[in-house]
């Protein structure tokens, strides 16, 4: 039970890290593409 509860608490930061990686990767890709095309990212 202790192990399960530990996993239950610590799984969320891991998922958050995954989402953060997805967002940052996409942003960098869009930023580079905008720079290449000489336009603002937004």
């Amino acid at each position: 039970m202790t192990a399960l509860l530990t996993l239950y608490v610590l799984i969320w930061p891991v998922i958050v890290l995954g989402v953060l990686a997805v967002i940052v990767r996409a942003f960098v890709k869009e930023w580079r593409q905008a720079k290449r095309e000489g336009r603002s990212i937004i």
């Binding site: 202790t2 530990t6 608490v9 969320w12 930061p13 958050v16 989402v19 942003f27 990212i41």
Partner: protein, 580 residues
């Protein structure tokens, strides 16, 4: 524990300068001498996945949701954060199928209220716009209060100094470029926030005792708090929140604005990512409340809103306390700037653009200044309400109910061509009329009236679940789910639900508005609305160079040349004369 670890004045000033100075720098980098009115409201409707996913996530993670999730964990135990964060995340996910439909019929709109104007006319539009103005001012006030309280607790500065600094900082970087500045800074803010969550939760967990805490502190929890399937948590936290989920998803302009801003083919990807990001962040922060419960910590001054800052001050070293500070400031700033831009777009598009000047005569430059002045007035109002300790809870409940009553009429208006302005308006009024006496217990709910309330609330269960199913699986599945859910819940719910007025209030609002909307719509046997008209009636206000996307003309009205005839047709719409 009476005295918490604090950050020194110079450190707080430095953090604030770095945070708001960095946001201002980003805003200046993308600013234009002459901003485009449509860009000011929705960024031109072609924002990429990275920024839009970051913005959706950042906007929905507000300081109050972090505090509320931790409170839920502290109050209801291990299932508490799930009953807050999971349903809150579902809120984002639920709008995406509806969002795709909304973008399909109104690809260049700026607000849902604007679309309702094109669909039904002025009364429907003003109901949505009014509820959004109230909702955004409340949200802004709430964020300022959370920031002021944090600064008051963790620094030598006062609450008033805190709210003024935050309000000024947010206004400064949002004012000139509006929505474009809001979404771009959201990216930096989400990196700061999510990065902080990744670090802070494990650090607090191990500092509080690690896995052994679950053994040594188990006696601090009641059996309900230890139960992952706690009925207490479900009926008091989860169920009312599920009912609120749809209402907030449909009614809130900050979501709608991002829906109109993201590139149409990226809607699903954006909303799914934001769902996971929001859910994991908020549930994760809620775990701090669970840890506090296991550790036997009592909230400072018996105020559960103090729990998170208290844990941070207790267990985090000074450097991480700075990270925590930035996390909270980031969460409230990203939502506050979204509220400001939501208010600005409503005043620009719905009030000035369509009701004062008229779409044909609206001057884009004037529109932008309407937006900027709105932001200044809204910030002043938020500061006034925050500093005068104005009780915004009842107002928030009222807005939530209004949104609840709006859900079925709004959704059906996008799919059902028989819904009329009368059906829409009468349904919302009926929903509100049923909500108020039940939610605030103005009438005695024991006896026959209680049973009647329960019957309506049970139908409300079917409506909520049916609408959720409708978004993903279509009408047939929705009808089956709604009917089965109502019949299955009836034996348990009737005679019981009225003992939970918060839940019952929301459900009767859904049921009454749905019943009235369906009955009045079925009574309309002659008029049919042509959804293609919405695309023509909504669209860019600003067709000057350097503004809207070059593809705008493909999706929206080509410009002033076609506006005259469109406005003529809008006049007809205002009279409630849908195309037969």
């Amino acid at each position: 524990m009476d005295q918490l670890q604090q950050l020194s004045g110079p450190i707080v000033v430095t953090l604030m300068l770095l945070f708001f100075g960095g946001s201002l720098y980003m805003s200046i980098r993308i600013s234009r001498k002459r901003e485009n009115a449509d860009g000011y409201m929705t960024g031109g409707g072609k924002i990429g996945f990275g920024i839009s996913a970051a913005s959706m996530t950042a906007t929905w993670i507000w300081a109050s949701s972090m505090y509320a999730s931790a409170t839920s964990g502290f109050t209801y135990g291990i299932s508490g954060p799930i009953h807050y964060g999971l349903w809150g995340a579902l809120m984002i996910l639920l709008i995406y199928p509806f969002g795709r439909r909304i973008r399909q019929v109104a690809p260049r709109a700026h607000t849902i209220a604007e679309v309702m104007f094109a669909r039904h006319g002025r009364s429907s539009q003003l109901m949505l716009a009014g509820s959004n103005v109230l909702g955004s001012v409340i949200s802004l006030t709430s964020n300022l209060i959370a920031g002021g309280a944090l600064i008051d607790m963790l620094s030598p500065f006062t609450f008033t100094q805190g709210i003024i600094a935050i309000a000024a900082g947010v206004l400064l970087y949002t004012l000139w470029s509006g929505f474009r500045a809001s979404v771009l800074t959201d990216f930096a803010q989400v990196v700061a926030m999510l990065g902080a969550v990744v670090i802070i939760i494990p650090v607090v967990f191990f500092a509080a005792g690690g896995p052994s805490l679950f053994e040594t502190g188990a006696h601090n929890l009641t059996p309900q708090q230890q139960d992952f399937f706690s009925s207490d948590a479900f009926f008091n936290q989860g169920a009312p929140y599920i009912a609120a989920v749809l209402a907030y998803a449909i009614g809130n302009q900050t979501i709608a604005q991002r829906l109109f801003a993201v590139r149409e083919d990226l809607i699903k990807k954006t909303f799914v990512t934001a769902t996971v990001g929001y859910g994991a962040t908020i549930i994760g922060v809620g775990m701090l409340g669970v840890l506090a419960l296991y550790a036997g910590i009592q909230p400072l001054n018996d105020d559960v809103n103090n729990l998170i800052p208290q844990l941070a001050a207790n267990y985090l070293p000074p450097v991480l306390l700075c990270v925590f500070f930035v996390m909270i400031i980031g969460s409230l700033s990203s939502t506050a700037d979204a509220d400001l831009t939501a208010l600005a777009s409503i005043m620009m598009a719905d009030i000035y653009g369509q009701n004062i000047a008229g779409k044909k005569r609206a001057n884009p430059q004037t529109m932008i200044w309407v937006g900027r002045i709105t932001m200044i007035i809204a910030t002043a109002a938020g500061l006034f309400f925050a500093s005068s300790q104005f009780n915004i809870l009842d107002l928030l409940v009222f807005v939530g109910a209004l949104w609840g009553a709006l859900v079925f009429p709004v959704i059906s208006s996008f799919y059902w061509n028989r819904v009329t302005n009368l059906a829409f308006t009468a349904a919302v009024i009926a929903g509100l009329a049923c909500f108020l006496p039940v939610r605030f217990e103005w009438i005695d709910l024991s006896g026959g009236i209680g049973i009647a309330s329960d019957v309506l609330a049970t139908i409300g269960i079917g409506v909520v679940l049916g609408l959720m199913a409708f978004g993903f699986f279509g009408r047939l599945v929705a009808l089956v789910v709604g009917t089965v859910a109502t019949l299955a819940a009836a034996p348990f719910a009737i005679g019981f639900l009225h003992t939970y007025p918060v839940l019952s209030g929301s459900l009767v609002a859904y049921a009454a508005s749905t019943i009235v909307c369906v009955v009045l719509t079925m009574a309309n046997t002659t008029r049919r609305f042509d959804f293609a008209l919405i695309k023509e009636r909504t669209g860019d206000f600003d067709t000057r160079d350097g503004g809207a996307d070059a593809s705008a003309g493909l999706a929206g009205p080509p410009g002033a040349a076609g506006a005259s005839s469109l406005d003529d047709r809008l006049e007809l719409a205002n009279d409630g004369k849908d195309r037969a």
